[in-house]
């Protein structure tokens, strides 16, 4: 019987299997950041050990950093201390570290692919649930806890039970103004926030094939929001072209050799999945969320479901979510005034996202009452924004471009949304308090975010196309 893409990569990395237990899985690359690594360094040093394979680990500071005045010392003491710890720990163990001001600094899941660390066929982990992003390259990539970060420090392995396999196939052409973010929000609205728990997803179909690498990363990024261990897409010519020539990608003849291997990375025609879903691209339009988990989403033109239509077992959660958001059942959100717009994060902080934003803002202005956080995913993205002159379009639209970082996605730095205020965000989570205590998050695509900047309201971006 044939193998799935996931099985091919997983099986090639199993050092050994424990009977009725997890596998010892070899990890090709671990990314680390300042928030989930310090205790793992303390742990391994407490055991009197050094990091086993430091050249297979890459560190960036991203979660805690300010997105203004990065040339100045970080003002907040605890944030500064955590970033300093990462720098010291990396140096002591011989790990490459991209700190503030480094030309390659940025959000870990933006930096990995753009530097060519992320390659097809790899196993990749990071103490961060959005590690699933790297699956867009045909890698088995997933988030882990700090104990597991320490396991990789100690042995370049982790212990994992093998997840089940799910395939989600989407075929057809996406309509005008419909982005890959809308695709994943649509899937979430159908499968719910726990619809893929216990599974590893492969995304397939012509809609996925037609997406750019950036767009594929957005889809894979939010796999964890479905509860999945990770999500992946079989590599193709687009993948190889993206990886080619990047700093840490194989070069020259080594690259050609690698591509020959990567071409074997697909699910065999007779491979079977534990669960399959298929969707039609024609059914997808711009999407927004209305609740406090990413599964509570709808088409932007729809009304919030009625109480009667909600599964009785989830009614309390639904009511609690609407209470927090200040919404009513059956309310339409089109035209609803919002206060903030956040464009950025590992979900939508890549160059393509800022091109979409700029294309819509060009010749238009920010609604006066709207506050923005416009945050590139990395220094390289910021550089490209400037090279392409997108920063001038933002300035003309009266929108401020900030410096790279995770920013208002989880608001560990100063980029918070005030209590009770509404924010249209291109990030990945609308949990209570995610963007600051009491903040109300509405997840959407960069185009829908751009439309909200212009009108100050929840607006169907297709009106501007």
């Amino acid at each position: 019987m044939g193998k799935t893409l996931f099985d091919k990569i997983w099986d090639a990395h199993v050092v050994t299997e424990i009977q009725d237990g997890p596998s010892i899985l070899y990890i090709d690359r671990q990314f680390i950041h300042e928030v989930t690594s310090p205790q793992a360094f303390t742990g391994i040093e407490g055991r009197g050990r050094k990091v086993f394979r430091p050249s297979q680990i890459t560190a960036t500071a991203d979660h805690n950093i300010p997105t203004m005045d990065q040339h100045l010392p970080i003002k907040e003491y605890l944030s500064a201390f955590q970033v300093e710890k990462l720098k010291e720990n990396s140096a002591r163990h011989g790990i490459t570290y991209y700190g503030l001001g480094d030309e390659f600094n940025g959000i870990v899941h933006v930096v990995g692919p753009e530097l060519g660390y992320t390659q097809p066929g790899m196993t990749i982990v990071c103490g961060d649930s959005h590690t699933s992003t790297h699956g867009a390259f045909g890698a088995v990539a997933f988030g882990v806890g700090t104990s597991e970060v320490e396991m990789v420090f100690a042995s370049q392995c982790i212990m994992q039970p093998k997840p089940k396999r799910m395939r989600i196939t989407i075929d057809g052409e996406l309509g005008k103004g419909v982005t890959s973010k809308d695709v994943i929000l649509y899937i979430l609205s159908k499968l719910t926030a726990s619809g893929a728990t216990g599974y590893f997803i492969e995304y397939a179909g012509s809609t996925i094939r037609n997406m750019s690498m950036e767009a594929r990363m957005t889809v894979c990024n939010m796999s964890i929001e479905l509860g999945a261990r990770g999500g992946m897409i079989a590599p193709d010519q687009k993948t190889f072209d993206y990886v080619k020539g990047r700093k840490y990608a194989p070069q020259g003849a080594d690259f050609d050799k690698a591509v020959a291997t990567w071409k074997q990375l697909y699910s065999d025609a007779d491979a079977t999945f534990d669960k399959e879903y298929t969707f039609d691209a024609a059914d997808i339009i711009p999407m927004i969320t209305y609740g406090t988990n990413p599964g509570l989403g709808m088409k932007i033109t729809d009304k919030i479901p009625s109480l009667a239509s909600v599964d009785p077992s989830t009614k309390d959660t639904f009511v609690k979510a609407l209470q927090y958001m200040g919404f009513e059942p059956e309310q339409q959100l089109l035209g609803k005034e919002v206060d903030w717009v956040f464009v950025g994060s590992c979900t939508n902080g890549r160059i393509e996202d800022f091109r979409l934003l700029a294309a819509m803002l060009k010749g238009r202005k920010r609604a006066p009452h709207i506050n923005t956080y416009i945050v590139p995913g990395s220094y390289l993205v910021e550089k490209q924004i400037k090279e392409e002159g997108l920063d001038k379009i933002f300035a003309e639209a009266d929108v401020e471009l900030r410096q790279p970082g995770c920013s208002s996605c989880l608001a560990m730095n100063e980029d918070k949304v005030p209590s009770g205020k509404y924010c249209v965000a291109t990030s990945n989570r609308n949990f209570e308090g995610r963007q600051g205590p009491g903040a109300r998050t509405i997840l959407a695509s960069p185009l829908t975010a751009a439309a909200a900047i212009i009108t100050g309201k929840i607006t169907d971006p297709r009106e501007f196309l």
């Binding site: 050994t16 944030s79 988030g143 806890g145 509860g227 560990m412 989570r429």
Partner: protein
């Protein structure tokens, strides 16, 4: 560095009958700035437990003197969202030994196990029974027996089995730690590397 050994637990419970409890609620991001594992229990469920003025919210179960014990019971899809192990540290630091739900997020389940806290997955029906029993009588006790993999409502003796893989069960019962285990496997890992990297 061993974890604490898990022994059969009989305790009252703290019920939080809400679904989709994400790790941002268990420990909000602004409390992730520590570089050690201590003290996270103080901020467990911070924004549900305290109001804007840092005053305890009286009817939240952790503040309600009716409820006590080392077993936390939550609704479906407990621990979803961020991979932050700080959520597991907060639960362990507060003093919980067991978390019961009808469904756990994968990463969270690994994280609590790695900190000696047992996640017990029960059926929707049994979870509803626990919530109803605690609602009727807050002194309701649960017995969690890891050796026999059973969870029991002590008063009525209603019981259900739960699953855990044999390796993890062994680790919890004996206080073994995955990292020590992996270090013991380093020769095998190096041999694998040699073959794998060619």
């Amino acid at each position: 560095m061993a974890i604490e050994k898990f022994i059969t637990t009989i305790s009252r419970v703290v019920p939080i009958p809400i679904e989709e409890i994400d790790t941002d609620q268990i420990i909000p991001a602004r409390f992730l700035k520590a570089t050690d594992k201590k003290g996270f229990g103080d901020n467990l469920f911070r924004d549900w437990r305290y109001d804007k003025n840092n005053q305890p919210i009286a009817d939240f179960p952790l503040n309600n003197p009716k409820y006590s014990g080392c077993i936390l019971v939550g609704g479906k899809n407990f621990g979803c969202g961020s991979s932050r192990e700080h959520a597991a540290w907060a639960i362990a630091d507060y003093g919980f030994k067991v978390v019961v739900s009808s469904f756990f997020a994968d990463i969270f389940k690994n994280n609590v196990l790695n900190n000696g806290v047992l996640p017990v997955q029960v059926s929707e029906a049994f979870l509803a029974k626990i919530f109803a029993a605690v609602d009727a009588n807050p002194a309701t006790e649960l017995k969690v027996d890891l050796v026999n993999q059973t969870i029991t409502l002590v008063a009525t003796n209603e019981s259900e089995g739960f699953e855990i893989n044999a390796y993890k069960k062994d680790c919890l019962l004996n206080g073994f730690d995955d990292i020590d285990y992996l270090i013991s496997k380093l020769p095998e890992i190096e041999a694998f590397e040699k073959k794998y990297k060619g």
